[in-house]
Symmetry: C2
Subunit: 342 residues, 2 copies
């Protein structure tokens, strides 16, 4: 264990943001209040509240929210005695105005998220957040799909814009523990600021990857109670808390209270189950965005190709969001090459 003790570990609970995907953005104000009250009582440091795709995500393209996220942020702030409310912002989806509004409602931290090769689009939003007096952190999505060298370059850009931490964000749940280790280690060596880690559980490695990140010095970690997040969910917070307790690492969260929030408050909100199913598994295996899944299934049917082969190929090509057209090309190519898996 070579965890650096310079900063305490801070947990951001994402079940009300990443988990928004899992409930098709249908959180009610009362649900948010109940969850926040429970998490605040358990001592969670930050609670992220936003549309699943961040501020401004409530659109036809990304899924309409039942309740305006600003109302939910206001309610969350109202319920917090100690926890701080965080928001997510993806430049291109969320705007400066929305950031300002969230800040005025009491959000104290923003994570500005970009694709792992596009840190440069985060500059303005990080500047703005710092100017507003918010904590501003960078979030490098799909971190598995770029080399460690690229990741360092991009993280340094975010640092230069004023980010106070940069996250290795495993959006597709595709990273293996040794890949997390090498990324966190590299960022710890290259940055002056804190390093964070955000996992997805598509390969059932979220908890293991998070403790690996902590061992390597990550001090900003993410969890979602009952795994309520996109795909197979994130690092299950109450499980992580139990594991950290067994490891002798105290992050100041009350394990039993957190377990009760999971069982009694968040559990009943889950529409299906957060088990690892075929869909989420193949996303982690292929290392692609979840938005590709439906397109790949359609293309597979049209070209008589296994959709999994399409997704694996897209993963190799490092396709990013917005490149859904590429899916048909890949399917056609696979069909032509007779690479159809029997």
């Amino acid at each position: 264990m070579n965890r650096h003790m310079d900063k305490p570990i801070k947990l951001t609970e994402v079940c009300l943001r990443d988990g928004s995907h899992a409930v098709a953005h249908q959180f009610t104000e009362n649900q948010v209040r109940d969850v926040v009250r429970g998490l605040d009582g358990a001592g969670v440091h930050y609670i992220e509240v936003s549309h699943g795709d961040g501020l401004g995500g409530s659109t036809v393209q990304y899924g309409k929210s039942l309740i305006n996220e600003m109302k939910l942020i206001e309610a969350a702030v109202d319920e917090c005695k100690n926890s701080k409310v965080a928001v997510l912002l993806i430049p291109g989806i969320g705007t400066m105005n929305e950031l300002k509004q969230a800040h005025e409602l009491g959000a104290q931290l923003v994570r500005v998220a970009t694709h792992a090769t596009e840190a440069d689009v985060s500059a303005q939003h990080i500047h703005k957040a710092r100017e507003l007096g918010m904590e501003a952190l960078g979030f490098l999505m799909m971190s598995h799909s770029v080399s460690v060298t690229t990741l360092i370059e991009q993280a340094k850009l975010m640092e230069s814009y004023g980010a106070e931490a940069v996250y290795v964000t495993d959006s597709a749940g595709a990273l293996l523990p040794n890949e997390v280790r090498e990324r966190i280690k590299a960022l710890r060596q290259s940055l002056q600021i804190e390093v964070g880690f955000h996992a997805h559980n598509n390969l059932s490695l979220a908890v293991a990857n998070t403790i690996t990140a902590i061992e390597e010095g990550a001090t900003r970690i993410d969890g979602s109670v009952r795994c309520l997040g996109a795909g197979a969910g994130n690092t299950q917070t109450e499980v992580l808390a139990a594991v950290l307790d067994r490891m002798g690492i105290d992050i100041g969260i009350d394990l039993y209270k957190l377990m009760d929030v999971a069982e009694d408050i968040v559990g009943p909100l889950i529409p299906g189950s957060q088990e690892i199913r075929k869909g989420s598994l193949v996303l982690g295996y292929a290392g692609v965005y979840s938005s590709f899944l439906l397109h790949a299934e359609r293309a597979g049917k049209r070209f008589n190709v296994d959709p999994r082969d399409i997704l694996v190929e897209l993963g190799k090509l490092k396709a990013v969001g917005g490149q859904e057209d590429m899916i048909l090309d890949v399917a056609a190519e696979l069909a032509k090459n007779d690479k159809v898996r029997a």
Copy 2:
């Protein structure tokens, strides 16, 4: 990676044995036939078929099986073209006669399971199995609760009886990756025979622990498709297969076929969900048998003590199955000491 390449890795699928707990021992013959046909087609090496508590487990105490396990073993053997059928036997529950009968029906491998301090009770059954021409492996349950030194001693006993492999069996899903590493490493260094690993997912570490075991040279590994096993289930086989594939380790199983078995055949058999809930989490956290849970809840109510504190205390005392009386004593003691958690 210091995996020893002397023996190929062999997977035993336990969803029809450990998973028997998850379906309250209500598997039908047709269900077993469907699952075995799928697993055999995917290239799984061994398929374990027995009552959840092993041969002879169908009792009022352990739960009555819907269908006699011998009938299920026979059906499984009938469906196998390449896979071999394995059985579990816990001395004291299963008998020599049942072992002989399973062998006559075509079971080719037996895992003789004892508590991690009681390997000596496995001698006769291992001898008998070898005499019958079966593969005989030792299974040290609750391996987390004993020192590495004790584990080595007990494993050596099993080796001396003729066991061809000994498993580190994490019955409570309580081991952390570094604890798995040290145990597998120690057994690899101390034994001439193969070393195996059987996980439970109560702390969401089953896949990570299994790949750690493989890195340290374990060549006998267990998985349960869709996590169908006691507590939070075992190492989810199709997820493990995807992870091993990403690691470049080929164990000769067809990933896509396995994913299809999981989604289309095993998934529909799951009565609830295999998510990590409060009950399974606390078992992993405390490191105790699942049979203690209900007793602890009752005792907690009676003495106004949090049942989790009772379980944690039992874990510290290294209580084993059959010591359920101890639960009331612990609860009374906790109440007296006013250790009640507010």
